[in-house]
């Protein structure tokens, strides 16, 4: 049963990656004109040679085949606006910055989110619960760019505690991380709280208590394990949030990460760069979702037994 589950997920992973690649290819081809339209009066013979050089004279299905085989080899093509640089180079140079910030944001979101959610659940309908949930609603509602702008203005300009832009020292991580993690923290807190409440009111907790187990044992053996488990499913959306957030946060805080390059390529309408980074992001997101599915399959015994869990969004 477990092998079938994994095979099923692998199949879907490959299929959705193929879908994304095909969508990008179709969209790229549907842009009117060709990449060399902006070059001024090239003689038709030279243009034909350029087109042949880039393989643009071949029939569309052959181009599609070449594109896919290039992708498999990790070749994302050349930037259209900066023709001496490959898309892969851009990604290699800028992604480490985004990754460091992203990982910090993910760790912070999970730690604070789970703590906040558990505090709220253990103090159900008390002051702490209410204030944690009000905080969570605010966190879900304030868009990251608003949060980032306010933080930057307040703690960078008005009270210059932090640097306004850049990512050189450790304290430069503080503001971008808060802005990036605010939304996931709120989500995780709400998720953890509702799961915890469900677990705390379930029969097996009553059983565990009535057979005389100490509060601590009940907590660590039953409550925590079952209550935090669903947070694992949030790993996929969390990655998506951090990536989408990075487009904005890196722009605002002047971090030379991949998000900033992506926004720049959108501004320049550098199609091959946009498509290449999109595929790269798609790969990360789908891998995150894939790992989540696998991890959940291992952790949750219900899936191992082959009982299909009804999908609740």
């Amino acid at each position: 049963m477990m092998t079938r589950y994994i095979l099923n997920k692998v199949f879907f992973f490959i299929l959705s990656l193929f879908m994304l690649a095909s969508i990008t290819f179709m969209l790229m081809k549907s842009i009117p004109g060709d990449p060399f339209m902006s070059e001024k009066n090239i003689p038709p013979e030279i243009k034909a040679r350029i087109m042949a050089h880039y393989g643009l004279d071949k029939p569309i299905h052959e181009q599609y085949g070449i594109y896919l085989s290039n992708l498999v080899q990790g070749n994302l093509g050349i930037s259209m606006k900066m023709q001496d640089r490959e898309v892969v180079e851009f990604i290699r140079d800028s992604f480490p910055f985004s990754m460091k910030l992203g990982i910090v944001a993910v760790i912070v979101s999970v730690l604070i989110g789970v703590t906040l959610g558990m505090t709220a659940a253990f103090n159900h309908r008390k002051m702490l619960d209410t204030s944690a949930m009000v905080l969570a609603v605010v966190g879900v509602s304030v868009p990251s760019f608003v949060m980032a702008s306010i933080l930057q203005w307040l703690l960078g300009v008005k009270f210059p505690i932090f640097n306004v832009v850049g990512l050189q020292e450790a304290k430069d991580y503080v503001l971008p991380t808060i802005a990036l993690a605010a939304l996931p923290i709120a989500f995780i807190a709400r998720l953890t709280r509702s799961n915890m409440l469900e677990v705390l009111h379930s029969d097996y907790i009553k059983t565990a208590r009535s057979k005389g187990l100490s509060t601590w044992t009940v907590m660590q053996r039953h409550v925590l394990r079952n209550g935090i488990l669903p947070v694992v499913t949030y790993l996929g959306p969390l990655t998506a949030n951090v990536i989408t957030g990075s487009f904005i946060i890196e722009q605002i805080f002047g971090i030379a990460g991949l998000g900033k390059i992506y926004v720049m390529s959108i501004g320049n309408r550098d199609y091959s760069l946009i498509m290449g980074i999109t595929i790269f992001y798609g790969l990360i997101l789908m891998s995150a979702r894939f790992i989540t599915d696998l991890a959940y399959g291992f952790i949750d015994p219900r899936i191992k037994l082959g009982k299909r869990k009804e999908k609740a969004a």
Binding site: S16, V137, F145, S149, W153, V157, I252, R269, M286
Partner: protein
Amino acid sequence: MISFNKQRPLSDKQYSAEQFTKVPIDEHAAEAIERESISAWRDAWYRLRSNVGAMFGLSILVLLIVMAFIGPLITPYDYYTNNLELTNQPPSAEHWFGTDDLGRDMFARTWMGARISLIVGFSAALINLIIGVIYGGIMGYIGGRLDDVMNKISEIIYSVPDMLVAILLVVVLEPSLFTIIMALCITGWINMSWIVRGQMMQLKNQEYVLASRSLGASGTRILFRHLVPNSLGPIIVTLTLAVPTAIFSEAVLSFLGLGVQLPAASWGTMINDALKAMILYPWRMLFPAILISLTMLAFNMFGDGLRDALDPKLKK
């Protein structure tokens, strides 16, 4: 009469059977309903009304919608005329929200931005509702092999990152209100279809549906008398929470320079513009930032309240 308390007899009087009259039990009176009967929707409304957060959200929403209609009309300035002598003004009696870098009135622009946000939010949610209910309804009601295939298709579409596809589509098709709404609908309907599917699958096996069917009710009657009204609650909640998601996505797109075209401006564009001049003119960011946060907050609080009110499990 037997006295239980020997020390203190109940009374010296002797009672006889004649002194008592028999009170007949009026069976109709016993069955009479004293209180007015409350329908499920009235009950939900009562519970919603007592939820402070939800009512706060609702009043903010009403205010926002009203201001989006009349806001641009109550100021003598329009949202697109440049006035290069009065650029970057702080809020004043003349320009209530100040002016931007081209001297355009921020009050008019902010409420025009509200119009765009609300239009995008409501249209995207509505389109998602229509597609999601039809697709999810077919999946859940018919079931079987068709359900398997359609469910797999929706899972594949869902696995393609939504924001990336939206960005790609708007880049290729050129930004406009229409392309933005369309881009947000490509993957947005799937959540709704899953909700509807789950509801349908759960409801169609209920006893009252079986009873109705065995009494000879037709498929359409069962669908519209039982399945649709009973799944309306979760659908409405999902719809309410889809609006802020769409508004947020539109703001991100316009912040990235993929918003509606000039001179029109949405909140995302305004905040992006204001960010460039943040050190000198911080107030330019103030009103769009507050309003978009407030809109999202209002929708989320109202949606949460609605979910609690429509969930019979949370009934006290």
